[in-house]
Symmetry: C2
Subunit: 313 residues, 2 copies
């Protein structure tokens, strides 16, 4: 037996590493609680159908399919939709570990913290969550971090206007995510009829704009908007922008990749020195309906492992 | 799908329940850190052979058998025996959740915190851990809690002296645990030859003695000790007793049930209002050897769910 190390994809946090994590957790907890969010601690194992396909699943002895927590948001949605169904709006925060299967590889464990605002549909709620993410970065001393704000609602409206199949939409997301304009252009020229929808899709590969220049980008996109839905999504982005005063914020219309349940604004958090996003969030107005209580919601989660590595707190 | 509740054996901690847990955790953390213990955060999933048969196991996609954490002590032993092999003594604390299979039922999740003192063999180390358990109870406002101290080493010595098979030893432990003197007596009369070992075994059903009266109990047991091993185990209990000044402490020679890896002193923690032990610990001098680094160790873990329900902090 090789006991020399924890499993690949997992880690032991010892001494200073544990202390750093707890210090970051305490800083975030302060931000969350001062903002009026209350903690929920869901179990680390649930019925498998609470989670998506990335969850690590196993049968218990009674033949029931269980899964390790792969996502806090789905658990918070379950709780909000059942035990807390009568309470609106709900401001909830959480922290703990999530375990996911990555492709055919071993499991991967990740420490997270986050917030969910349930039962609030307006741009004020979106802006509250974006501001809370900004305050979290601030509490960790990440002055130079960026909050890259986009809208899956906008992308969905463009894809619909372009008559894109699910497969084409996925291919478009891939190219947009890579900001690969030449490939995106040839894909669009091949698959999307010429017109406003195609031009709007090509704009998704544009570089992110700092808050000061984002109005101009939104105006340009609005001029090309191929549908009322697309226009409404852009207007919503403008509304959130207007309510948020943080120089970390930038607008990236190509910020379209995220968990499948996002329906409106979506954002990712980037910090200097971190190899990938240190967090992200968005609006998910359909998730609670899966648990029998259709209510709008918006939230974000932080990758604590990634943040602890770069935080100055 | 029934999403109305978490799985049986697991729970959602919401609002005040979460706050109470975090308050208790913080109180304990203060005790552990002031005593010079440093936190380790092991992963929630490990290779299955780190844990015992009670762990919930599943194959990953590469065919490797994984298990959810069912016991922190085994993980701390793995870490101490590998990455921290050169450092002695080690004072480590931890907290988090453990998941166990109970018989054929569903899994059971439990929140724990605890301490391990690795690389220290003497009664001072045993007494340090007992005192730390007492300080933990104190920090939670549990003035009336009891620390019931026994010795698996003593029981093993008696079982050896009585020539008991493993099966008989297990049956004896069952009756001792129930403090059922008549059944223990008839079992002993049937299976154990008359003599000092049998008389000593019958003494295990005696009620616990507060610290003030424990010396007398140990003297009586020593007079019956059927072997040098048994005498040494009793002497060790006396040494620990001498070094511990806490009115919560009592000696119960029948406190013999515990995880299979205990080799010396063993104790359970009881609190008024809690339906079962709220924690326990003991010496485990053989566990680190399983991970290739034979070193003595002693520690304890607390059942946070049980403690939070009765704590006054």
């Amino acid at each position: 037996m090789d006991f020399a190390a924890p499993l690949p994809g997992t880690q032991d946090l010892l001494f200073d590493a544990a202390r750093r994590l707890r210090r970051c957790e305490a800083a975030l907890l302060g931000v969350f609680e001062r903002a009026g969010y209350a903690e929920v601690i869901p179990p680390s194992v649930e019925a498998a159908d609470v989670f998506g396909a990335e969850a690590f699943r196993a049968l218990d002895r009674s033949g029931r399919l269980l899964a390790l927590r792969s996502d806090f948001t789905a658990q918070v949605a379950r709780i909000a939709a059942t035990r807390l169904a009568g309470f609106s709006p709900l401001r909830l925060h959480y922290r703990g570990s999530v375990v996911r299967r990555l492709g055919e590889g071993p499991v991967h464990e990740n420490l997270q913290a986050g917030c969910e605002l349930v039962g609030a549909a307006g741009p004020e709620a979106d802006a509250e969550i974006v501001a809370l993410a900004a305050a979290s970065l601030q509490a960790l001393g990440l002055e130079e971090a960026r909050i890259s704000l986009g809208s899956t609602g906008y992308f969905s409206a463009l894809a619909r206007a372009a008559g894109a199949s699910e497969k084409l939409a996925a291919a478009l997301i891939d190219e947009v995510d890579r900001k690969d304009l030449p490939t995106l252009r040839s894909l669009c020229e091949r698959e999307v009829p010429a017109g406003a929808a195609r031009e709007a899709l090509l704009m998704l590969a544009q570089p992110p704009r700092p808050q000061t220049a984002a109005r101009e980008l939104l105006a340009k996109a609005s001029a090309l908007a191929p549908s009322e839905d697309a226009l409404a999504a852009l207007r919503r982005l403008g509304d959130v922008l207007e309510r948020t005063d943080d120089r970390r914020l930038e607008v990236d219309l190509g910020e379209v990749r995220g968990l499948g349940y996002y329906t409106g604004i979506v954002f990712n958090l980037y910090a200097p020195g971190a190899p990938k996003a240190v967090g992200g969030g968005g609006r998910y107005d359909s998730l609670l309906g899966r648990f029998g209580d259709p209510r709008p919601a918006v939230g974000f989660s932080l990758d604590l492992d990634g943040l602890v590595a770069v935080a100055r707190c």
